[in-house]
Symmetry: C2
Subunit: 321 residues, 2 copies
């Protein structure tokens, strides 16, 4: 059996997992990201953690044939360079090369959402499908596409950033400086934002009781209120689903996926979001596409990033073909 | 030098061209499609034409190593089956196999828009680019995507049909039975339709003089009127361009092309359509994507289909790798 370590580098936490070639996690560590300490300190700790995981799992060192790492922001996976990771304060850093020097192992880096989607595509919700479009509904919204087990990158590895397409009749300001981007509605923050906005405009909701300061409203709070029968909360999730359907109405004819896998915190809203989304999408799509794909929730969830980056590293190193 | 014959089967005409491996057309024939005669008669005539072209060009029969064919509608290029071609009245016909029996040559069939875009991508407007998204603005609107010289198909070879995505605030009825599809605006027929609709609502235009019966208005008429300074015509082309930009605002982040090639009759409107489209697209896209791709008009135009199907056949037959 061959193994790889998958590393998911987030702005808050770093997760390292030793993963076998079937996608099983055999050992795992999670610790806070000290982004102030700079990338060398972060990479040294990752390198030490990799050796601990191998020891803990009791495998031979040479059985771990590669290291994969998912990093937020723009990444050049061919050169192994983190081009821009705002939360980590990284810019044009040759992460793969540096970590290879520390570990003596082959290192492959990529965008974190791509690694998440790759994990879900080959070992999670998209397993068994040929054309998997995966989305994470989290703080923002991003996506990736896996075709016959390979990732689509596009020019300068920039495909997948659908969160910033402006949507007609949406006027929330976006972090990117523009107005009405998809992710101002379809994201965990967008779900909370819609609820706050409607309560501010005078609509009644259970959420006012639960969150005396409406700034504290969260997407999971909206989900719980919806489950408790709150009309506003239910409608916010329905509107979120319908808005997302308008994005998927482009995804389906452009890519023709046979599976759409939806993960991230926003996906926890479940059918309250998915049912209106499916219904709207059925109305928007040409007849030919109906029934040609499944929509599934992520299965690996928080583990998708480490499983995906480990399996992708195995594939890129030629050890899992 | 190796050659292939490219065949472009339309509802009105059939064009056959003998093409060398560099994409040059060395001999060509065009004749009306007798769709009433059925597919066997059509294929027999194509088979005879292939031999004529080879003789005319004076090449050895075995130098023509493959035949490629672009067919409208749904095609299964792996099985070589025309699944549905409404204008030809074909349904589930194993075209590639039948033509192979007649010609004794390897035959590869595909969707006609894919073959057009492939031709433009490798030997036309997209030459030299890695990720080429191509569109034909004709009677309808369809597209294809070529990545590193290979076509993207998607599940059941159904990717590319973006003409039927409903657009907000558009309410023209579409041939597909629904309302406000992209191609009701962004197509040659859509350009004429918009002009007619606005004239019917009382707007003044040169087109009323040129086309006493407004049912006769054509997209090229609208282009000429725009060139002559007609305000309505100019605005129709600008609106068409802006509406198309709303589609491209999804294409760019999903695929991240480095070239977008636009062909078909609608592209002849030129800058009157392209300039407002570019401007709108710049407003809609995330900063990261600006300046990362070129938008070009088709170069091979009417020849893109035969060049594309011939070169794709050469590639599929393993003769042009």
């Amino acid at each position: 059996m061959k193994y790889a370590v998958g590393v998911d580098v987030g702005g808050t936490n770093i997760v390292c997992g030793l993963v076998d070639e079937d996608g099983n996690i055999v050992a795992q560590r999670k610790y806070p990201t000290d982004s102030q300490e700079g990338h060398q300190a972060i990479l040294s700790k990752i390198s030490a953690t990799i050796e601990q995981l191998i020891e803990e799992a009791g495998i031979a060192s040479e059985q771990c044939v590669a290291v994969g790492m998912g990093i937020p922001g723009l990444v050049d996976p061919e050169q192994g360079v983190s081009l821009r990771a705002v939360n980590l304060n990284w810019r044009n850093i040759p992460i793969a090369g540096r970590l290879k020097e520390l570990t003596g192992r082959s290192v492959y880096i990529d965008n974190d959402v791509r690694m998440y989607v790759y994990g879900e595509a080959v070992a999670g919700g998209g397993r068994g499908h040929e054309f998997v479009y995966g989305v994470t509904i989290g703080t923002g919204l991003a996506s990736a596409f896996v075709q016959h087990g390979s990732l689509h990158y596009g020019h300068r590895f920039m495909s997948g950033e659908i969160g910033h397409v402006p949507i007609e009749n949406v006027d929330f300001p976006c972090n990117c400086g523009r107005i009405g981007c998809l992710e101002t509605v379809v994201s965990a923050t967008g779900i909370a934002r819609q609820a706050r906005s409607r309560i501010t405009k005078g609509e009644a909701s259970l959420l006012q009781e639960w969150f005396p300061d409406i700034a504290d409203i969260t997407a999971s709070g909206v989900s719980r209120a919806s489950d408790a029968g709150d009309i506003l909360a239910r409608d916010v999730l329905a509107q979120t689903g319908k808005t997302f359907a308008r994005a998927l109405a482009w995804v389906v004819p452009l890519l023709s996926p046979d599976a759409i896998v939806i993960g991230g915190g926003g996906a926890l809203a479940g059918e309250a979001l998915f049912a209106p989304m499916r219904q709207e999408l059925d109305d928007l799509l040409l007849q030919d596409y109906l029934g040609q794909f499944v929509i599934k929730t992520a299965e690996l969830n928080d583990h998708a990033g480490i499983v995906g980056s480990a399996l992708w590293a195995l594939k890129r190193s030629g050890s899992n073909d």
